[in-house]
């Protein structure tokens, strides 16, 4: 199967699971409570479903079996959507469009959007707990899996990166700070998407380490490409504001290294991601290198 067809098929399976999760939020009257409407709006507003695809693909690459891995992947999409909703808020980036649609707070108001974000975060851990249980993980592995996702989301992960990012706007920062921001803000969740697949498949330390390196590198490449698309992309294709990073004085890879060197850095990271798999059973898997390659070539 070629990578485009694989990604398309996985995305449609993930979207089906997300729909079921949203349905489970309906009240006894068959309707979604108000906050859940805003949660569902942002969750179904498109998206590549990269994080769940990584979880499912790494799970399979580690010989994991069980449909419940899709729900675990969806939990990461819920967390990702929480970060998007809060990032777009007026007190944060104040963005009006996301994936070609009005952002959550433009549609539902600031307050409801703020609640919707936290609501998604809470639901994510509920879904994650129950899918780890459905996969039959014992209590230590389950606690480890949940704790790894919580750590990747909190002050030592995504939130830590967001804070440094916002506080660095319009200030000179060094390469180390730029590295810190991106390895935490975007990298942490992509990395844990990969390692979560391994943990749910009961993989050993060696495989978890290989997937940490794989995930770290594709997360890095993903962020560089994201910066390039913000700088050079087309609004119609990208579905969100273009040129907004520069206007805001954001620390980005193209602003720092220029577009050509940035593209080279992304390509090197994708190579390193593939190399990280060699020498283990993961080297046999055809999909993981293909996903890494896709991240480099994506246009949105």
């Amino acid at each position: 199967m070629d990578i485009e067809a694989y990604l398309k098929e996985q995305k449609s399976r993930i979207d089906r699971h997300l729909s079921e999760i949203i349905d489970s939020w309906k009240g006894s009257n068959g309707e979604l409570p108000e906050v859940c409407q805003a949660m569902a709006y942002s969750l179904t507003a498109g998206g590549k479903r990269l994080r769940p695809i990584l979880t499912v693909s790494c799970f399979r690459a580690c010989s994991g079996e069980g449909e419940a891995v899709y729900n675990a992947g969806c939990a990461l999409e819920l967390i990702h959507t929480y970060t998007l909703i809060h990032d777009d808020l007026p007190i944060m980036d104040d963005d009006d469009f996301r994936r070609g649609l009005p952002t959550c707070h433009r549609k539902f108001g600031d307050r409801r959007a703020a609640f919707a974000g936290v609501g998604l975060l809470l639901k994510a851990f509920e879904v994650l707990e129950s899918s780890a249980a459905d996969l039959g993980l014992d209590r230590d592995r389950r606690a480890e899996a949940v704790a790894s996702v919580a750590a990747a989301t909190g002050g030592g992960g995504v939130i830590g990166g967001q804070v440094v990012d916002l506080e660095s706007e319009n200030r000179q920062i060094d390469d180390r700070a730029l590295e810190y921001i991106h390895s935490h803000k975007t990298g942490a969740l992509i990395r844990v998407s990969c390692t979560l697949g391994a943990r749910l498949a009961r993989a050993g330390e060696e495989m978890i380490n290989a997937l940490t390196a794989y995930g770290g590198n594709i997360g890095y490449a993903f962020q560089i490409v994201d910066d390039l698309l913000n700088e050079e992309g087309d609004f119609q294709e990208v579905g969100k504001g273009v040129g907004t990073d520069r206007a805001r004085g954001k620390a980005t890879f193209p602003a720092r290294f220029g577009p050509q060197e940035s593209r080279r850095m992304a390509a090197r990271a994708v190579e390193a991601a593939t190399e990280a798999l060699s020498g283990s059973a993961l080297a046999e898997d055809p999909m993981l290198p293909a996903i890494a390659g896709f991240i480099l070539s994506r246009r949105k």
Copy 2:
């Protein structure tokens, strides 16, 4: 031991555990990362520690044993502090003072306060997971305990109540909506503070049900007294804005039923809380009725 001395002793033990939790957030340089500073500020800005005290007291009343229950109680204080920080934000209630000090966003800015809130929420579930493990709970009971706290916090609990509350400002609402707001916004977390103690002590359904009724009633009384203090209290004593509910057109008990009837309603709820304990082993416990009585008489 009289109730005042008991509450004071428990509060100081809980504060010690909170300090240890905060210490665990320090980096390798011995300093708190920036978001954690804001988290620690709000967490140590005072507070009665009612929720952890309830968890510990209900745990003991159910014959639970183990010091780790204090950390589980602290997890609820972290969640409570998250709700306070977000409630005070300009997009929510826009309050300047809390417990006699500048609110988190007045001290650290809106963005950092928003992150600090979410950071506390994430840490809470980490702390809860590990304390349930320390108490030796098996995986099903642990998952149940964590899920009950997540449900009490999310759209079906605190957040659900906050949303309806904010959307009801300056609008006529009926008794059912007022009931919904308070049983969710304040009630859900107080209720789960009680039942969490029972679950951690491996209590049976009967005790969990009795403590659900106990917690529901004291939560109700707590909210009525809170409304009365907002209306009639003294800024020095209460430590936050007084008369702010009325200025904002909030749906409160005194605004709806008048102060005298509100006080009677609170007293009836405290009676019902104590009655809920009768007929079970919990009726023997001296502290639970005393805590209920304290809630009625509190001046801040």
